[in-house]
Symmetry: D2
Subunit: 341 residues, 4 copies
Amino acid sequence: MLSFVNDYCEVAHESILKKLTEISLDKNPGYGTDKYCAMAQEKIRKACNAPTADVYFLVGGTQTNKTVIDTCLKNYEGVVSANTGHINVHEAGAVEFTGHKVLGIPSHDGKICPKELEAYVSGFYKDGNHEHMIYPGMTYISQPTEYGTLYSLAELEEISRICKKYDMQLFVDGARLGYGLACQENDVTLPDLARLADVFYIGGTKVGAMFGEAVVFAGEKRPAHFITQVKQHGAMLAKGWLLGLQFDELFTDNLYEKIAKNAIDTAIVLKKALKEKGYTFLVESPTNQIIVVLDNKRMEELSKQVNFSFWEVISEEKTAIRFCTSWATKMSDVLALTEIL
Amino acid sequence: MLSFVNDYCEVAHESILKKLTEISLDKNPGYGTDKYCAMAQEKIRKACNAPTADVYFLVGGTQTNKTVIDTCLKNYEGVVSANTGHINVHEAGAVEFTGHKVLGIPSHDGKICPKELEAYVSGFYKDGNHEHMIYPGMTYISQPTEYGTLYSLAELEEISRICKKYDMQLFVDGARLGYGLACQENDVTLPDLARLADVFYIGGTKVGAMFGEAVVFAGEKRPAHFITQVKQHGAMLAKGWLLGLQFDELFTDNLYEKIAKNAIDTAIVLKKALKEKGYTFLVESPTNQIIVVLDNKRMEELSKQVNFSFWEVISEEKTAIRFCTSWATKMSDVLALTEIL
Amino acid sequence: MLSFVNDYCEVAHESILKKLTEISLDKNPGYGTDKYCAMAQEKIRKACNAPTADVYFLVGGTQTNKTVIDTCLKNYEGVVSANTGHINVHEAGAVEFTGHKVLGIPSHDGKICPKELEAYVSGFYKDGNHEHMIYPGMTYISQPTEYGTLYSLAELEEISRICKKYDMQLFVDGARLGYGLACQENDVTLPDLARLADVFYIGGTKVGAMFGEAVVFAGEKRPAHFITQVKQHGAMLAKGWLLGLQFDELFTDNLYEKIAKNAIDTAIVLKKALKEKGYTFLVESPTNQIIVVLDNKRMEELSKQVNFSFWEVISEEKTAIRFCTSWATKMSDVLALTEIL
Amino acid sequence: MLSFVNDYCEVAHESILKKLTEISLDKNPGYGTDKYCAMAQEKIRKACNAPTADVYFLVGGTQTNKTVIDTCLKNYEGVVSANTGHINVHEAGAVEFTGHKVLGIPSHDGKICPKELEAYVSGFYKDGNHEHMIYPGMTYISQPTEYGTLYSLAELEEISRICKKYDMQLFVDGARLGYGLACQENDVTLPDLARLADVFYIGGTKVGAMFGEAVVFAGEKRPAHFITQVKQHGAMLAKGWLLGLQFDELFTDNLYEKIAKNAIDTAIVLKKALKEKGYTFLVESPTNQIIVVLDNKRMEELSKQVNFSFWEVISEEKTAIRFCTSWATKMSDVLALTEIL
């Protein structure tokens, strides 16, 4: 059975497992005070051209989203997000669970529109009643988005400008950031993110690590006692060096982008085949998530030979499904899939 | 200056102040264990034809909404509401502050559509991913709505049926309930509410009381240790008899509906005048809130002679404003207003 | 039946009810934007010798405690309190419900000892592990305490000094503040409180008001958007002028201290009688709460003629009970009680 | 430099790393729906003699504590714990952060006394005021405790009886459970825990796993939609099979107890040496944590040759420190340490 179900179904890149095995009985201090964290932080600062950034390592995406959002917001602030944003739909209300409202605005293939963002926020301040409403304290976007789409540098700069104007922080969820960075259409670099976002993270779980997300605070607003708050959120990994070591590997010799590129290369081949065979795309995605609309009958046939994700019901006869490539996808599997399509 | 700004700008009905003054130095036990609470509870049970209902008295609307919703929901549950619902817009995120997501669905002049409710909830359970999403555990509606509109009995029964089918509680915010009950178009009675809702409240603050909302749990699902949870929410009035006494007065000789009727009678006269003078209504409201759309210039002129509420911007030239009558509105003021219109 | 059960069993001082009745049909703007609030704020600023203080009015004590503590603390901070502090015992966990730990330290007749406070806080910072612990961000004391005892000015200054040294805020719960101010042994004035505490409140519910607590922020640290946060806590009274009017009355012609003095005068007579009749005091309280230890048999006899509060079990044979005087206590009732003792 | 600083400073037992490497490119379904989780759950059910138990895998101890406690308690309930309990001191207020009070009772070398527990809880229900207090809804104990001590089976049965009597759940934190099970003095087995506790966990992080805690619900009370609540707490590991695989290894051929025994064997040798050399023990601990009291000067000398943990200040001249052995401690290191002592 072929599998294109998601980008987090393998353990980790071999270099990480090799390294972990080599040092398995070394004794390391806990809670991120070890040398691997220090090395990884330094490499990430360099890659981001942000020598004074604070870099922290957390275990997973939802955990990172809720911890960052809660520690950055004040009680009376909420976070603006596309209605389709991961925090608004698929995190079991983790953000609200910490007391903060998610303020949904329209999604355009997973992205928010800067103009709509500004209209929303400026409208808030014009409302005579706004003292009885939740203040927009942060904008959350994902790069790439949940639909595989990308913000251009121009869009990101515009969103950043709006956030500064209205005293909101900008948080970029980079759970799949590697697949954005490795993509030819992309013009947003790590230094751009460090310059334009107050906080963002570099996803490891979906891009070659066993698990882990590297949170980068490069701006001036940084939560006080973040370590204590991470502990308070139940998000502290005792053996912090497991995270440091993985990001140290991924940021050595550009491994992170190299392996991410495999997902893009295989996705390009797959998209080309899908186009040639006349498939309809739900979204034009330049990254590793490919969402197509199928007749239900065709979907059922395919499902006997390949694993994919259900995406959404389109009509009684049609369904959108997702094929996902990853750092670990073999080109031979893609070719086998194109045979079936 | 005439005032039609809202329905909570006077202290209270005279009979309440008279009674409070009479008993001002009597000694009463605290926290709702007094005789006035007992009498008021009994009268409300009778009025609701719900002899086994639990009745509690809280101080205000947002407080009641957040306390009821939080004590009725489990961690993993959210509350479905019209996007325009008071809890979703004008309560400073009080519901999210207790950890629960408000699940917005479309508003039709303040009301939710039963079909859309069922589509939303059934869709939730069909989503393969719903274990990573917030469960719809309650439906929140207001009667009358924030736009002055009313649910018909047929609509309420349909919403109640859907709630039961999907194991959701039904909560009716009755901050202005009196103005619904007193309205000729209305066919939903207190016994209907007690029969169809798991919990609802009878608003006092806006209908003749100094303050206070009477929460009625008439169904089988009732929060455990509600008193303790009220205390925990900071919603316990030490001198509980102040609340009991007010509702005892309001439910003696049908005072509640009698004084509510004044708001409807005056509103009818005002609406008639507005129609005759060619004003455009934003919403067809049968109750005491009258929302009209004006040229900004006309609005400015009017504002020199009468207080009203800003409602929303319609366009660059037009604005919606609200005239509100109440239990205390004098017909002479309405007539004076019609002169100006 | 005589009653000395508590100091919040009457409606309110007559001047308040009179005033409410006079203005009952006046139209006032909501949410504390009215003239009564403005007048009361000005009078309180003057009484506190704190011309730039922010003054807010909330409804009750637990509500005020939880709202002030939550809005003043950061996520990673807790509040130090005597183990017997109201917030630690009798508020149904309202503070923890907002996410903050109450850090209990020993109680000495309801008071904390400055030396023990400093030892606790300095110990926290010496603990190598303190990044995994809750930071002490505030000290909570009550004046008078739950046991009727008072902090001296010297003690208060010492506690204030410690708080400043360790970057903690000082919050004084003044639910019964009037009874402290009216007491001869007391040397802590309102200006002292405004100078030494970051925030404190002047209790109305127990000192002549129908309900209400006046929160005074006179220092430099003040929560942002406090009004929005009050709404978010469900603590906003729509008819804010009800609170303003009461405090305006209480702070006119020194009414607050005048009526509080009645509680002290009657308590002095009662304490003298108790001493003469050989009763044992649990605590030496200079204010209006008198706690004595009785044989259970004697307690039972007394309970047939007078209402008092159970305080705590002392042994199998003995119980502590509380007699409480108030602004409304009649000297004739005290004399009647002394006959019984 | 010798290190006895803690029991979580190595990566993992070699068999786990070997297995992870073997399957590193296999594709597994996410969120704990994989075969390894299923196998591990089955083995744990067997080891616990609890064929119907629900078994879940979480990442770390604080995360597990807060998630279990919050999902088991109702709003108005708190958790009783020894004052020294990990949840009460070293988890940055994670339990309070979810809204629940930790109700501290005295610690006796890390243990609670059943009699004191019963006195506390029965006293709560006798208090006339208990509706204004937090209900004791759960008892939290750790086995072994934070001081390395163990509850006997008789004690555990007594605590379980008290919990049932007062409708409290019993939760056993087994972060170091292996070291208790492997200990000769211990008479509490996994089936005993499954029978007597409502929920407990088998610690992996400190006993040979890279990370992970196996939560076992074997009683009748089980939180609804636990998976959704785990997600909501940010505690869901996307690659759930990483946890399943580790516990599958640990529960194959009794590996868990075998490697735990190494910690006990080395601790016995070390304790014997300490005794012979006249060291004073702070606590008599039968497990892998050895706490001794030293002159500060001696402590400083030792610290040049061996890493240990600071435990607590005893006096100006004396300090308690901890030596900790683990599954990975080499006997040769223990012998080297005894030379230095």
